[in-house]
């Protein structure tokens, strides 16, 4: 990958990577650091990474950085009941969905985001995350079911 291609990858993927990371971490400053780190690593290895594969390379690095950061944070216990003050009456469907998204386990959240935001196929998600294809399918299935159940309960509450 040449320097021009690297700069083109910044144009193409910086925002998309940032959206993926910030939704996974739910923290803007950490997301900026992760994106910066991803492109720094890409630049360090730009002579060995083809331009065609730089997108999956970036998301692979970002996924592992996200997991590394989340492992340092205290684990939030996911319960079936929503905490008090979690909702207000003026939330749109997207905002409700994003709040439900934050209640997912990190890996489920990441695979759903890769699937919905980036449109990756299951095989590509398995390659990026290092999971097996069956694990990816199961994670996505469970994540959607969890999202739907949370959304249903939230709608009942609202």
């Amino acid at each position: 990958m040449t320097t021009e291609q690297y700069n083109e990858s910044v144009d193409l993927f910086a925002d998309r990577l940032y959206r993926f990371v910030i939704k996974s971490l739910n923290h803007a400053a950490d997301a900026e650091d992760v994106v910066q780190t991803c492109f720094e690593i890409l630049w360090r290895n730009h002579s060995r990474v083809a331009f065609e594969s730089c997108r999956s390379y970036l998301f692979t690095v970002a996924y592992h950085e996200i997991l590394r950061l989340l492992r340092r944070q205290p684990v939030e216990e996911l319960t079936d009941t929503l905490p008090v003050g979690y909702l207000d009456d003026n939330l749109s469907l997207r905002e409700l969905l994003e709040r439900c998204l934050q209640r997912l386990p990190p890996q489920q959240k990441a695979v759903v985001l890769l699937r919905d935001y980036e449109g990756y196929r299951y095989e590509e998600i398995a390659e990026i995350t290092g999971l097996s294809l069956a694990q990816v399918k199961v994670y996505i299935f469970r994540a959607r079911r969890k999202l739907r159940d949370d959304l249903l309960s939230l709608r009942h509450v609202v």
Binding site: T3, V10, K23, S132, V138, R148
Partner: protein, 330 residues
Amino acid sequence: MNINQQNLAAWLQRACSKQLTAAEEQALLNMLEQHPEWLDGNPEALRWLPDEADILPNRERFKAKVTEANCDLCYQLAVEGRLKPDYRNHLEKFLEAHPAVHNRLKMYGQVVLHPDPALRFPQRSRLYRRPKAVVPLWSRLAAAAAAAVLALAWLLNDLPRQPVAPEVTELLPVISGLPPVPEVMPEEPAHEQRRPTAAIAQASQTTEPATEVQPVETEIADDSELPPLPVPVPQILRDGDAPLRPQVALQPVPQQQPLLHATISAAWLRQADAWLKSLQASAARARQTAQRIIPNQASGPNAVRLVMAIGPLEMDRTFFARTIPADHNY
């Protein structure tokens, strides 16, 4: 190989991950043929079975069976467009028969996330990299040549300058118009100042014997027999009315003249010493004048050039002091 309803999920999980051997797959399929009701609680089987169509002879019996247990998975696959056509038909029939389940499954169409295009990375400019500038060879050579020229110019500029600098020459008319320095200049009668060489020779004969001058090989009594001086004798020594001529005093003095090897007389030495004293007097007067003219430029270029002009004179003084003993009285 123990396959039962309790561990069927684990077996199906391994089958979806393609971790089963052919014998294990066959055993699992046989067990599912015998107990198709076990699939109701195991939606993972639907992912595996449609891809293995040739393995299971009786798969059509339960393949397109959509129940409440697997309807979630089937609906999700339908939303993503990955449900096979035969299952799609069965799913439609199932949803028509179960409207309550249909309303619940409709929510799957809403749990698809959509990116927010307004969310942009704020520091994108920090991510860009500049391409390395390719410097052609000719420009590198030109830069090296320019550096060499500059270095040469600096070296030439750093060499010692000529004793008489243009700035000093400009000061000479000012210096020449000043009165002489009394403590340096000898006070001699007017008639002796007109012929200083003869007066010095006469004084030499009366004050000390010529034999006491050790370096002198041959003594020259007559003034006309003196050997020519390597440098022109300052006119101040011959013209008593004009005792000091700084122009002459500040002229460059050759450093490596064969003065030591010449046969010189005591008269010549005395004459040269007087000439040197007059030069030093001129230099002292020039220094005083320079300080008066440029009082605030003690280290400026003019002052430096004045010092460089005076430097050879001081060297000559040192030379004569080494050649002639300090206690030598002549």
